[in-house]
């Protein structure tokens, strides 16, 4: 990436398998799966426990500089998505030690990943107020906008730099990381919180995902398993603090990894069809942006949702990027454990990459992923010890969004 070097200086995450980054690392290491089967044979889900945000915030009370009380007060009546975003952001804020010493408020940016985040609330309000519209709560005008997350987070954390939401369907997380990294690299911000927003699907949205054939209709086999039949919806909020290396070093924060390169592109389509050429170009573009050769890549965190067409396209893209090098990077699929966290997925998986790089392991791949793939070596039933130099994290979305981010190990002198 051109400009100021950018590092991941803090992370936060709440998902079906963990309430915080340390628990997430432990859950990934053991390959714990958060997907619950439906008793009636319908689609499984990997929901976030409604009490998780409060639990996570209470666990942060030990840090006196964190606005835990303000967070609880401000979000007392908020939906799960906003409460989870605030908890994930405070975790990352503490992890990056911004509670001890933060850049000036107007040097901190905020990018929330996701579009159409309020479908569930809109559906509930539509039903409740159909016959008595005069009682629609006035604040709905705020709460029904995706950008409410930006406003609430900025209020709780006192952020005054540039902020917005970034929407790119299931690639929203990655595209938000791209936007955040560019804000920091360009010098527009010293640090930027990138928050993956939890998606609460309405019944209609859920059914639409089923009807289009993307969501698995019944108990689902994991991504890349021969019996895969679609994704399982997951709920998570996650946060990565992207910071200029200069700022992180000044604050003596060790960080997880450098954001070495990014690439996002469209595929000239409004369809949901995956495009192996565009996916390969996204990975190649991120490598070129970082000045890293394909054979230097240790690990790829796949987009791997469990959709047969999507998984096959990604295998073809991995083949195109890596098969000619004679070296196969390790790959796994975090969505097999967390479910597909939709708008948040890219940030959840960036956090997964960060904690795996720091922990020196790669999480297991549940199910029976293919063994003799050109261009990819899947992890098996157990975590693999790994000293990751360079890791790609893929994110693809309906409507031709293709993206990949390259994370590189920090040099020893920087840690």
């Amino acid at each position: 990436m051109r400009g100021e070097p950018v590092v991941v200086s803090g992370v936060g995450v709440l998902c079906a398998v963990a309430d915080d980054p340390a628990a997430f690392a432990a859950a990934l290491r053991e390959g714990r799966c958060g997907i619950r089967r439906d008793a009636d044979g319908g689609p499984g889900r990997a929901d976030l426990d409604d009490d998780a945000p409060q639990r996570a915030l209470e666990a942060l009370r030990g840090s006196p500089g964190l606005p835990v009380d303000r967070a609880l007060r401000t979000t007392g009546r908020s939906c799960l998505a906003v409460r989870a975003a605030v908890a994930a952001a405070l975790e990352a804020w503490a992890d990056a030690r911004l509670d001890e010493h933060a850049p000036a408020p107007d040097r901190v940016g905020l990018v929330v990943a996701g579009n159409n985040l309020t479908g569930r609330q809109l559906a509930a309000l539509t039903t409740r107020y159909a016959q008595k519209p005069r009682f629609v709560p006035p604040r709905s005008a705020l709460r029904l906008q995706d950008t409410d997350q930006v406003g609430v987070l900025s209020e709780v954390l006192g952020i005054e730099g540039e902020g917005c939401t970034v929407g790119a369907a299931s690639a929203s997380g990655n595209l938000a990381l791209v936007q955040g990294a560019r804000l920091v690299a360009s010098g527009a911000a010293d640090a930027c919180l990138v928050v993956g927003a939890l998606t609460e699907l309405s019944d209609v949205e859920r059914q639409a995902y089923l009807n289009i054939g993307a969501m698995a209709p019944g108990p689902a086999a994991p991504p890349f398993d021969p019996d895969h039949s679609g994704f399982v919806a997951g709920q998570a909020a996650a946060c990565a603090v992207l910071e200029s290396e200069t700022s992180a070093r000044r604050r003596r924060v060790p960080g997880y990894a450098r954001v070495g390169g990014v690439h996002a592109r469209l595929a000239a389509t409004g369809s949901a069809a995956p495009d192996p050429r565009a996916e390969a170009a996204a990975m190649t573009g991120a490598l070129r942006d970082a000045g890293v050769r394909p054979d230097q890549v240790t690990y790829v965190n796949t987009h791997g949702t469990g959709s047969p067409g999507g998984d096959a396209a990604e295998l073809a893209a991995l083949d195109e990027v890596f098969a000619h090098t004679g070296r196969r990077p390790w790959v796994n699929a975090t969505k097999g454990l967390t479910g597909h966290c939709l708008a948040a997925a890219g940030v959840v998986e960036a956090v997964a990459v960060a904690v795996q790089m720091r922990g020196g392991f790669l999480h297991p791949t549940p199910g029976r992923p293919p063994k003799n793939v050109r261009g990819a070596e899947f992890t098996g039933d157990a975590a693999v010890p790994a000293d990751v130099s360079h890791a790609l994290s893929n994110g693809f979305g309906f409507g031709g969004f293709n993206s990949s981010i390259l994370f590189s190990a920090l040099r020893q002198t920087q840690r």
Binding site: R73, R77, K132, R134, F135, V136, P137, P138, R139
Partner: protein
């Protein structure tokens, strides 16, 4: 002005108090006395609209929000709502 369904003035006051604290948790409920206006208690115009809409919905009072002027005390708000039930 009492009504036929038995909702007393005090019950309306209690409902206003409950919604006020729910919308603006910073307000100490003991400070919500009938002679105060919501503005004096620290509510901004959106807080006020949110509180009053919630009370009107709960009590099923058909009263346009604009009738509940910002200068009205909690006592006056409760009386107006009681009259329109």
């Amino acid at each position: 002005m009492s009504d036929t369904t038995g909702l007393t003035h005090d019950e309306i006051l209690r409902t206003i108090r409950r919604h006020t604290v729910a919308v603006v948790p910073e307000i100490d409920s003991a400070r919500i006395v009938p002679e105060r206006t919501l503005d004096e208690l620290g509510c901004n115009s959106i807080d006020r609209a949110e509180i009053l809409t919630g009370v009107l919905e709960e009590l099923d009072v058909d009263l346009p929000l604009e009738k509940l002027t910002s200068g009205a005390t909690v006592e006056e708000l409760a009386r107006l709502m009681g009259e329109h039930r």
